[in-house]
């Protein structure tokens, strides 16, 4: 049933998915090739996935699809699991779309990009998306899309805001961490993703509890 629910979401998203892929491809090309590329890519990936998931939820609500889903022979737990699987899948797919072309051209550019750097960018892109959505999805499952709209709309820009504030308040500390290689080491990237996956699991447990108690 979880698989059927994920397929349903992909069927709803298919047209937007196509245009968004073109957007990703167009947006990757003009990105700078300096060190900030990984950060920009992560933020961009996060924005695309946010737009996808928000669109899926909004389209579903506009079509009263949430009513249809609740009338189908699926449990609430399945609905929550499917949404988190979609989140994980989209985060991975979009991060791959972003880093894939870079990996393809990496050996041929004037200053070759090591494969480990591309992998690190992939990890940060997927991690950021999963972290943000792990915080937001319980709110959506508790109050529905319409009432969570402000949060969903601001979700795309929250990481920018957080990064801006962090660099203003803790700029020296962050630069010191960067010098020590925290943001450019593969183990740190893997650790970040592991934290994001654990947070997503905790978030899904909370979402399931909230959604099973909600009257639709």
């Amino acid at each position: 049933m979880v698989r059927a629910l994920v397929v349903k979401d992909l069927m709803i998203l298919r047209h937007r998915l196509f245009y968004s892929l073109i957007l990703v491809a167009l947006a990757v090309a003009p990105m700078p090739h300096e060190g900030k590329r990984g950060l920009l890519g992560a933020l961009f990936t996060h924005m695309v996935v946010t737009a996808f998931l928000t669109q899926a939820a909004l389209l579903e609500e506009q079509s009263r699809g949430h009513v249809l889903v609740s009338l189908l022979p699926v449990g609430r737990r399945d609905v929550v699991q499917a949404r988190y699987l979609l989140l994980g899948g989209l985060a991975a797919a979009t991060a791959t779309l972003y880093t894939g072309p870079i990996a393809a051209i990496a050996p041929f550019v004037p200053a070759p990009i090591p494969a480990s750097t591309v992998l690190l960018w992939w990890l940060w892109a997927a991690t950021l998306t999963m972290l943000m959505w792990s915080i937001s999805l319980p709110v959506v499952f508790r109050w529905g899309v319409t009432r969570s709209q402000i949060l969903l709309n601001s979700l795309m820009f929250i990481p920018f805001l957080v990064l801006m504030l962090l660099s203003r308040w803790f700029g020296a500390g962050i630069q010191s961490l960067a010098r020590q290689g925290l943001f450019s080491s593969l183990p740190a990237g893997l650790g970040g993703l592991a934290v994001a996956v654990i947070l997503a699991w905790v978030s899904s447990v909370v979402s399931t509890r909230l959604y099973t108690r909600r009257d639709l």
Binding site: V7, K8, M11, R64, G65, L71, L72, P73, V74, R213
Partner: protein
Amino acid sequence: MEPILSLSGVCKRLGEFALEDVGFSLPRGSIMGFVGPNGAGKTTTLKILLGLVRKDAGEVKVFGLDAESHGPQIRDRIGFVWDENVFYEDFRVREIGTLLGRFYSAWDDGEFRRRLSQFELPADRKVKDLSRGMKAKLALAASLSHGAELIVMDEPTSGLDPIFRAEMLDIVAQVISDERRSVLFSTHITSDLEKIADYVTFIHRGRIVFSQVKDDLLASYVRVKGGVEGLAAARPHLLGVREHEFGFEALSTEREALRRLSGPPLALERASIDDILVYSTKYARAK
């Protein structure tokens, strides 16, 4: 035989509104009209039986299973026609079949195609381009394609023109010719019920006023008309009275007592379901 659906002592508070001690049962192979004014609690009751809303108290059994703990198994055997379209507007009709087929254990794609053809639904048209009546027929086609034993309809004929409504009612009547199936039909258009319902359940302000066999219901009530001078003697036998300049109109279950009254003659007529609902609610306080 065990009823296909039974509710007893169901309570639910939703802000100012509350369902109180709601109970009725639907025998297998029959059509029940579930009637009541807007805001009476019809949709909330249907949502409770489908497991969309959690009850505060009481028991709901569908196919003999507890509705809350067996939601998915129960919904696998239920079809629905909702008051508004619930299918994705951008999907084509045939894609709705593809989508639903992934969820229902007994989905029959051939049956879906046959029903689309029977109901004259174009498979390649997008849902958003279907009329309201066609969307209702699509929901019914989907219900029949997974062998639903119980079809729950929430205001399926509201907003339909008379021709579409008549067609829809004919289809529902055909559906029930398969005696395994039952239909719970929520509506405020009572003339629809007179045509097809076997049972009528009336809910008002969150409480069940009555739930009985339609023919017994119609036989037990009588509509009374009389002049001003006859009202005083008749009043103790009346359930609801509408007084007007020239006399009164009322509802009663005491046909013989009214006939035996001395004084000006009263006109006793067959009451419609509409009369029963209106006089037992709107004019009930006048008793």
